[in-house]
Amino acid sequence: MDFSDSPEEAAFRAEVRAWLDANATLRDGSEKAQDHFMARDAEEVARARDWQARKARAGWAGLTWPRAFGGREATPIEQVIWNQEEARYGVPPNVFLIGIGLVGPTIMVHGTEAQKATFLPRALTGEDIWCQLFSEPAAGSDLAGIRTRARRDGDGWVISGQKVWTSGAHYSSHGILLARSDPQVPKHKGLTMFLVNMSDPAIETRPIRQISGGASFNEVFIDELRLPDSARLGDVSDGWKVALTTLMNERFSISIGRASGGARAEELIALARRVQRNGRPAIEDDEVRARIADFVARQRGLEFTSYRVMTSLSRGEAPGEEGSIGKLLLGRLRQEMGSFGMELAGSAAGIASAEGDDVARWRNEYLTAPGNRIAGGSDEIQRTIIGERILGLPPEIRVDKDVPFAEL
C-alpha cells in the first residue's frame, strides 16, 4: 500500500508540470468561476479550442489513445496525474471530454476506416466538439426505450425525433446519436447509432435553463434529418452494443476525472470562523462542529475511494463498483453542504447580499447538486447497479424485455 507516486509516475508528473509551467498560468484564486467541462459562452469555447490545439501540437491531447490514432498510449494513472496537474492552472473548461473520452474510443471500436480517418484527428486538435444525443423526454434511465426514429430512405436514412439533457449541444459541431431503426423487435434489438453534423438545418437546439440559473443542457429537435449510410456507426440494429461502448467509456472518464467537484468541506470551517451563531463565533457551536467534522469525513472517504479506483486502473482492472459509490454519495454530500453553508452564512438563509458572497456561493452548490444526483445515472440507478452487479441480488422483473417495441 503506497500512497505516493512511483518513480515512473513522479517522472511523468514532473514532465507534465514543466510543460504546463511553460504554457499556462497557475491559479491564484482570482479567476472567474467556471465549470470543468461546460463552456458558458462563445469566448470560453474559443479559448478552449486554442488550449486544446496547443495540447495537441505538444502531444498532450488524447493521452490514453493509441499512438496509431495520434494518442500517447498513456496509462490511466498518467491521465489522472495530468488531470490533477492541469486543474492547478487557469485553463479553460474541457469541452472536449465527450469527444475524446467517449466518442473517439467508440469510433475506434465500431467505426469504419473512413470514419476513423475523418473524425479522430479533428477530435484531438479541438476542431470538432462532440455531444451525446442519447437521452429523450421519454427515455432517461431506461435508455433503450428511445423513440427517435431512423427510417431507411434509398441508400440513406431519415431521422426524426427529440433528444434532451444534451450537454453542450448548443456549441457542439457533431453529435453521436442513438435512434430506433426497427420498432418491430424488442427494445434493445432495434437500435442503430449515427454520427451527425450539428450544423444541419434539420437539427434545432434549444438551451434548457436549470434551477441553478445556468443553461448547460439542451433540447435537440431533429426533423427529417437526411443522412448517408456512411454516417452509421456500427451495424444496423447493433446500436445498443455501440451505446454500451460509449457508456463504458463515460464511466471510465468519470472515474478518472476530478475526485470531488465543488466546494471543500474545509471551506465551511473558514466560514464558521467568520460568522456568528447564538452570539459567538459559529465554529464554537457544538452542532456546527459536528456537522462540519462529518462532512470532512465523508468527503475524505470519497477522495480516497477515487484513489482505490486509480489503483484498480493502474493494475489493469476495469473500474467498477467504486465508481458507482462515488457517484451515489457525492451529489448528496454537495447538496447537504450547500444547504448547511447557506444556513451558516446568514440568519436569512438563502438571501444573498451581492454576487459572490458566501450565501451566493453555497446557494449555487445547493442548486447544482441535484443535477449531479441525476446526470450520468441517477442515485436510484446507482443503487440498482450496486445491488445487482456487486451484491448479486436478483434483478428487477422486466416486463418489456422480450416484447416488440411497437407493442409496448
Partner: protein
C-alpha cells in the same frame, strides 16, 4: 500510487480467514452469548500458535517483523469472525505502547509472553468522564496508582493493565499494573455484548511502572493507531453483517419472488455497501499513514474512526430490519453484530470525541477550526 493490498498480504488474509473460520464460528459466538462466558481463549491460543500475535513485533522481540498493514488485515478478519479476543487492547494499543514508550527491560519481559498468548494486557484508558486524555483523573505518585477505570475490555481476563493516569506534575502518562498485585479490585460489568467482557478496575495505591516515553504526543499517536486498526475490525464486522443480510434476502421469498429483488430492499443493501466502502477507503488511508509514519495520521485516524462508526451502526441496524421478524429473535445472527459493533464503539471513544480530534488536527494543519 498503490492503494490496495499486495499478493502476499492477500495470502495472509486467506490464511487468517481459514484459521478464524475453524475456531470462531457464529455458533461459538451464540454459545458464548448464552453462557455469558467471555474471552475466547481457544481462538486466542490458536492465533498465538500460528505466530499471529507477534505479527508486528520485530524479530528481535520474538515476532514476525511485519507492519501496520498486516496488522490491519488481522483486525479486519477478527472483526469479520466476531471472535471474542482482545485484539485492540493487546495488539492495537499495548504492544505499540511498549514499542513506542516502554523501556528495553519492559519490552523484554512482556512482548514474548504476549506473542505466546500468556500475557494479556488490558487497556484501562477510559473513566466515567470518557476516554479523551483531558478527562483522566487517576493519579500516579511514587510508583503507586489510584483511581477508577471503566470500561476496561477483557479487564477480568487480563494479566496486566495499561493505565492512563496523571503524574505528580499533572501530565497524563501511561503505566503498567500487574493485576494480580495488591491494591487492585476488578468488578465485571454488564456490557451490551456479553461475548466481549468488560470490567471496572479500581486502583488503590497499586504498584505501577511508568512507560517513560509516554508523553502527550505519544499517547495521541497511540490512540490514532488504535483508531485505524479498530476501523478495520469494525469494517470486517460490518461487511459480514451485510453479507449475511444479502444472502438472507436472496433466499427469503415474498409476493412470489426473493425479497432482494425489490428495490425497497435492494437499495438499502446498496446504501449499506456504500457506507462500508467509504469507511474502507478512509481506513486504507489511515493504514498507509500509520505504516509510513505520515504526518497526516491524526486526521486520517479520525476520519477512519468516524466513517467506521457510522458504517457499523447503519449496517448492523439495517441488518436486523431486513431480516424481518426473525431479526429480532435471540437465536438469529444479526444481533451478535449489533452488540459487537456497540462494544467496539464504547472501547475507543465515541463519535463526539473523534469529531473534536478531527477538527483539532485540521486546525493544527492550517485549517484553523478553533
Amino acid at each position: 500510487m498503490n492503494f490496495g493490498f499486495s499478493e502476499e498480504q492477500e495470502t495472509i488474509r486467506d490464511t487468517l480467514a481459514r484459521l478464524l473460520g475453524d475456531h470462531a464460528t457464529l455458533a461459538v459466538a451464540h454459545a458464548r452469548l448464552d453462557s455469558g462466558e467471555g474471552f475466547d481463549r481457544p481462538t486466542w491460543s490458536a492465533l498465538a500458535d500460528g505466530g499471529w500475535l507477534g505479527l508486528a513485533m520485530s524479530e528481535a522481540e520474538g515476532g514476525a517483523g511485519m507492519g501496520a498493514v498486516e496488522l490491519a488485515i488481522l483486525a479486519e478478519e477478527i472483526g469479520r469472525s466476531l471472535a471474542a479476543v482482545p485484539f485492540l487492547p493487546v495488539l492495537g494499543l499495548a504492544v505499540p505502547a511498549l514499542q513506542a514508550a516502554g523501556t528495553e527491560a519492559q519490552r523484554r519481559s512482556l512482548l514474548p509472553g504476549i506473542a505466546e498468548g500468556r500475557v494479556i494486557i488490558a487497556t484501562a484508558l477510559a473513566e466515567a468522564g470518557g476516554l479523551a486524555p483531558e478527562t483522566v483523573t487517576a493519579t500516579l505518585a511514587h510508583g503507586r496508582l489510584s483511581g477508577r477505570k471503566a470500561p476496561v475490555g477483557f479487564g477480568a481476563d487480563a494479566t496486566h493493565a495499561l493505565v492512563a493516569a496523571r503524574d505528580e506534575g499533572g501530565a497524563v502518562r501511561l503505566c503498567l499494573v500487574d493485576l494480580s498485585g495488591p491494591g487492585v479490585t476488578i468488578r465485571a460489568l454488564d456490557p451490551i455484548d456479553r461475548t466481549r467482557p468488560a470490567a471496572e478496575i479500581a486502583l488503590d495505591g497499586a504498584p505501577a511502572e511508568l512507560l517513560p516515553g509516554s508523553d502527550g504526543a505519544v499517547i495521541s499517536r497511540l490512540l490514532d493507531g488504535a483508531a485505524v486498526l479498530g476501523a478495520f475490525e469494525q469494517i470486517g464486522l460490518a461487511e459480514r453483517a451485510l453479507a449475511l443480510t444479502t444472502a438472507y434476502t436472496r433466499e427469503r421469498r415474498a409476493f412470489g419472488r426473493p425479497i432482494g429483488s425489490f428495490q425497497a430492499v435492494k437499495h438499502r443493501l446498496a446504501d449499506m455497501f456504500a457506507r462500508i466502502e467509504l469507511a474502507r477507503s478512509n481506513a486504507f488511508f489511515g493504514a498507509w499513514a500509520l505504516a509510513s509514519g505520515d504526518s497526516r495520521l491524526g486526521e486520517a485516524a479520525a476520519v477512519a474512526r468516524l466513517a467506521a462508526l457510522d458504517a457499523v451502526q447503519f449496517a448492523t441496524e439495517e441488518s436486523i430490519q431486513l431480516h424481518g421478524g426473525i431479526g429480532i429473535t435471540w437465536a438469529a445472527d444479526p444481533h451478535l453484530f449489533l452488540r459487537r459493533g456497540w462494544q467496539l464503539k464504547a472501547e475507543l471513544g465515541l463519535t463526539p470525541m473523534w469529531r473534536e480530534r478531527l477538527l483539532d488536527n485540521l486546525a493544527a494543519s492550517g485549517h484553523a477550526a478553533t
